[in-house]
């Protein structure tokens, strides 16, 4: 295999329409060779269609698919150096595990498959099950067969369509690990479609968040989480609080906002909308970045922090942290996660509190969008 950009997957202006319905708006996407790339989005966002266009199972209405330097747009699936792990696996029920895994090799005319198949089954820890039929295996084992059946062909790109969707939570966590380990071991480009933001963030090097047939944002998990560009991304990945604020003016590297009768500060480079005084902006802050202080101790809050006041509406103890919902004049249902290090016994529902955070953690988004976009989808 070549290094550099020789094995990138390049989608150029690729789009898919069914009659009058647009499943995927023309999009450009480059998946670097050897990376673990996730297409993340709610069902119906076009992520699976995009994957299927790379596999050749769906013909794009427009645009091209390149694997390295080769244009594969018009190649049928059986001529593409790409393999897929299907949702619900699509194992061949009449063939045993060995023959399922050997299928791709045999189709390419390779006669002595035994050694390779056995090695591959060992890699996914199914050496003992070779002569069983798919329906005799558990969901997790079937999943590994599907993975082995695809990986044995050493594809340039491995496509995974919600591969862990049918597994229970514990097994899913274990398989996420396993997949990541195998990907590092074999060094093949993985393109992983999922609706589970946690799965995408733990496994992928790069995540493309899709919504309504478009890529909303592309980046590393940390980048997407810390610097969401739209409210959809901010809400779909984790939880965000939004305060509708007016821009008051600039002060050095910061933008000063007015929310209710308080003032908030936002770093200019984290503001996604022009800092024209009088304009509206959605000031976002992640729940775990916020500190909670009882109103009686308001004086102890250091200077220079963004602060708003409110009343605790609800508190849920989750062990590691306590999740508070705070009612505040500038934002209903403000979510705050506080690590259970030193719990303040006064922080119970009904208590008056001051919420404060480092201004650097604030991000500003265009107020024209729906502040709740992506909340439903993430649920």
């Amino acid at each position: 295999m070549t290094n550099g950009t020789g094995g990138d997957v390049r989608l150029t202006g690729i789009g898919k329409t069914y009659g009058s319905f647009t499943a995927v708006h023309p999009l450009d996407l480059t998946v670097p060779q050897g990376s673990f790339f996730a297409l993340l989005g709610a069902s119906g966002c076009g992520k699976t269609t995009t994957l299927r266009m790379i596999a050749g199972l769906e013909e794009p209405t427009r645009g091209t698919v390149h694997l390295g330097d080769q244009d594969v747009t018009r190649l049928p699936p059986y001529k593409r150096p790409v393999n897929t792990v299907f949702q619900s696996y699509a194992l061949f029920p009449h063939l045993d595990i060995f023959e399922n895994v050997a299928f791709g090799l045999r189709r390419r005319g390779i006669k002595s498959v035994r050694k390779q198949v056995e090695e591959m089954l060992d890699l996914v820890q199914l050496g003992e099950q070779a002569r069983k039929r798919p329906h005799q295996l558990s969901g997790g084992q079937q999943q590994r067969v599907a993975l082995a059946r695809a990986l044995i062909n050493h594809p340039q790109v491995l496509l995974l369509d919600e591969p862990l969707g049918a597994l229970d939570l514990k097994l899913r966590r274990q398989m996420q690990w396993e997949l990541k380990r195998i990907q590092t071991e074999v060094g093949i480009t993985f393109v992983h479609v999922t609706h589970d933001q946690e799965e995408a963030m733990t496994m992928a090097d790069q995540v493309a968040v899709m919504n309504a047939g478009r890529v909303e944002q592309l980046g590393t998990p940390a980048d997407l989480y810390e610097n969401p560009r739209t409210t959809f991304v901010a809400n779909f990945l984790g939880t965000s609080n939004f305060i509708e604020a007016g821009i008051e003016g600039a002060s050095g590297p910061d933008v000063v906002l007015r929310a209710g009768d308080g003032r908030l500060v936002l770093p200019r480079e984290r503001c996604r909308t022009p800092a024209t005084p009088g304009a509206k902006v959605l000031a976002g802050i992640r729940p775990e970045k916020i500190s909670l202080t009882h109103a009686d101790d308001a004086d102890s809050v250091p200077e220079g922090r963004n602060r708003i006041t409110g009343t605790i509406a609800d508190a849920a103890f989750t062990g590691v942290s306590t999740q508070y919902v705070v009612d505040s004049p500038v934002c209903q249902e403000f979510a705050v996660y506080v690590q259970n290090v030193d719990r303040d016994p006064r922080l119970v529902p009904g208590a008056r509190v001051v919420l404060h955070w480092n201004p650097a953690h604030t991000f500003g988004l265009d107020a024209a969008q729906d502040a709740a976009a992506g909340v439903e989808e993430a649920a």
Binding site: G56, Y78, F86, F92, P93, G104
Partner: protein, 309 residues
């Protein structure tokens, strides 16, 4: 240890006894089986026993028949009519193969390609059943009539020369030849092939085709390695549903054939209704039944359907 043998105190002092409804419930399956069992006894078991006893009787129509355990009837019937038996099997086999060749592509089309036309095509497949078996076979008599357009066309295209050479037709005729009988059988039993084929093809998960394509199988290889093996239950039941009734059929040979195309069914019919030699007719029926049973058993063993999912 003695305390353990004592029954624990009841949680509620007046727990209702669940026994009576359960006892009645236990008999329910048998009540449900009863109508079917009665039907089987009256219309299957009794006639079979009656038939079996007839087959070992001797006598004549005037003096009446008596059970004499004259098993030789079986041997006599077989020696006299083995050509008709062989012909039955050959015609039925030919019709079954033709049904499979015609039915499979159609069933495949309905299952995978028909889209919204699926139901319409299914109705068309079943539509012939709205007319009687006899009428449909008589219609074939017209279609294959001497000097009719079909025979004329086959003659012009020199197809008849080939079939004559093969011994399937004779002279300028199609009617009253083996070809006509096999055509009639094929036509009449085709739906019995298509329906089970369709059912088993339709059950195949379309993603298996995609998975095969994704794993470098060309469309034809996908058919050979995935679709066809998975449709084997349909192939087996379709061929059985065609072959078994076709072997025992006599209407097609009667209406479309000649004395040279008589099948086992025709012999049995003649023995029962014209010659009135009941023991021979009954023995022939049992031989036919046994022969079909043996062939079907061997076939199912060979195709190993119980191994398929």
């Amino acid at each position: 240890m003695t305390t353990l043998t004592e029954a624990p105190p009841p949680l509620t002092p007046t727990a209702p006894e669940p026994a009576p409804p359960r006892r009645r419930g236990r008999l329910t399956p048998y009540w449900l089986l009863l109508p079917g069992l009665l039907w089987l006894v009256v219309f299957f078991a009794l006639p079979m026993i009656y038939q079996a006893s007839t087959s070992v009787q001797t006598g004549s129509l005037e003096e009446g028949y008596k059970v004499t355990w004259h098993v030789a009837t079986y041997w006599d019937a077989l020696t006299a009519y083995w050509p008709q038996f062989l012909r039955s099997v050959a015609y039925a086999a030919a019709a079954t193969v033709l049904c499979l060749l015609l039915g499979y592509p159609l069933a495949y089309l309905i299952a995978f390609r028909a889209g919204r036309w699926r139901n319409l095509i299914m109705v068309l497949v079943i539509a012939p059943f709205f007319t009687s078996f006899l009428i449909r076979t008589l219609a074939w008599k017209t279609i294959l009539a001497d000097g009719g357009p079909l025979v004329g066309a086959l003659n012009t295209l020199h197809v008849l020369d080939v079939t004559n050479w093969l011994g399937w037709t004779a002279g300028d005729r199609v009617l009253a030849t083996p070809l006509a009988v096999v055509c009639g059988l094929t036509y009449n039993f085709l739906p019995f092939m298509i329906l089970p084929l369709y059912t088993s093809l339709e059950r195949i998960d379309g993603r298996l085709h995609e998975a095969a394509g994704d794993l470098y199988a060309r469309p034809f290889t996908t058919f050979r390695k995935i679709t066809f093996p998975l449709s084997m239950p349909g192939v087996v039941s379709g061929t059985l549903l065609t072959f078994i009734p076709a072997t025992g059929d006599y209407v097609n040979a009667d209406l479309l054939g000649s004395t040279d195309t008589r099948m086992a069914g025709n012999v049995i019919q003649t023995q029962f209704l014209r010659v009135l030699d009941y023991p021979t007719a009954a023995a022939l029926s049992f031989i036919l039944m046994a022969a079909i049973l043996v062939m079907v058993t061997l076939y199912i063993r060979k195709s190993g359907t119980e191994d398929l999912v």
